[in-house]
């Protein structure tokens, strides 16, 4: 069974490739489930983290995939998923935001053929508030995407533990 390090080392420019796979995975989730396109800004937008969703990966690929943005962004995401106005979104915002993170993580791992059945996902966790530090047991360079959702900053990060 290959380790995460071997998986990463198994392809040329693995980090760039996986960044691309992560971006495609995220775009598909937003287009299919929310009906909107993520855009890539000319310069990286601010890293807003009023709300953070996290999904753990275990097995051949160990790490944490997180998505963070403003509460306003997360509310609009939930409204698009549910087909209601942002004003109608209540506590379901947390569930919706966690599910988005879950689907991005699942879609990402499904696109890495070598992972096969060897990578499991945790249930999502959602936290609010900016005043926190995350110390995952990651020892590889994090993949990070800075994108725009409805012209608002969205950061997707994959921290990998070898």
């Amino acid at each position: 069974m290959k380790t995460t390090t071997e998986l990463l080392a198994g392809s040329t420019h693995a980090t760039e490739n996986w960044n691309h796979v992560l971006e495609v995975a995220a775009r598909e989730v937003f287009e299919l489930m929310l009906g909107c396109k993520l855009t890539v800004p000319g310069t990286p937008p601010q890293d807003l983290r009023e709300i953070t969703a996290m999904v753990g990966l275990a097995g051949l690929l160990c790490g944490v995939l997180s998505i963070r943005c403003s509460l306003k962004s997360a509310t609009i995401m939930a409204s698009k998923m549910l087909g209601v106005t942002p004003e109608q979104v209540g506590k379901e915002m947390y569930d919706a935001f966690g599910e988005i993170c879950n689907m991005v993580a699942g879609n990402f791992k499904n696109k890495i053929a070598r992972l096969g059945n060897g990578c499991m996902l945790s249930v999502p966790t959602v936290i609010t508030g900016e005043d926190y530090d995350l110390y995952p047991l990651a020892d590889s360079e994090a993949l990070e995407l800075r994108l725009l959702f409805e012209n608002m900053p969205l950061t997707i990060s994959l921290q990998i533990h070898s």
């Binding site: 299919l32 489930m33 569930d95 966690g98 879950n102 699942g106 499904n110 992972l115 096969g116």
Partner: protein, 128 residues
């Protein structure tokens, strides 16, 4: 197509709503939607209710979707009822396990209403 009673099993209430909406968008006439947050809750629902279709996630607490599908064989109200998995788990192994256990369809998240239509309508005797 007669209107159906559907059981939607997912630990996310948001996802249960989206699955229901996708069913309606696929043209399925629904007379009742029953919901469960995991496999054990689904078995409890099926102990007292008959349904025509079961849509089921895999990764859930308490009892996951694969275990639920295995146990459905012994549930009177689930006999002959088509089960379609809707899950983020996309590996071939999961697909094989689900279909071997008795699931009749497999949809990977993220999904579209069109995919629900393609997978579900034939199971209800309607051409997609």
């Amino acid at each position: 197509m007669n209107s159906i009673r559907a059981l939607i099993v997912d630990d996310s209430s948001v996802m249960r709503k989206i699955v229901e909406r996708s069913l309606r968008q696929a043209g399925v006439e629904i007379s009742a939607v029953l919901e469960a947050g995991n496999g054990a809750e689904a078995l409890a629902v099926l102990a007292e209710n008959k349904v025509d279709l079961i849509l089921c996630d895999i990764n859930m607490p308490v009892m996951d979707g694969l275990e639920l599908v295995k146990q459905l064989a012994a549930v009177e109200n689930a006999k002959g009822v088509p089960v379609v998995m809707i899950t983020t788990e996309g590996s071939e192994s999961h697909v094989v396990q689900a279909l071997s256990a008795g699931a009749r369809g497999y949809i990977r998240k993220p999904f579209t209403a069109e995919q629900v239509k393609e997978h579900v309508l034939p199971l209800l005797g309607v051409n997609a």
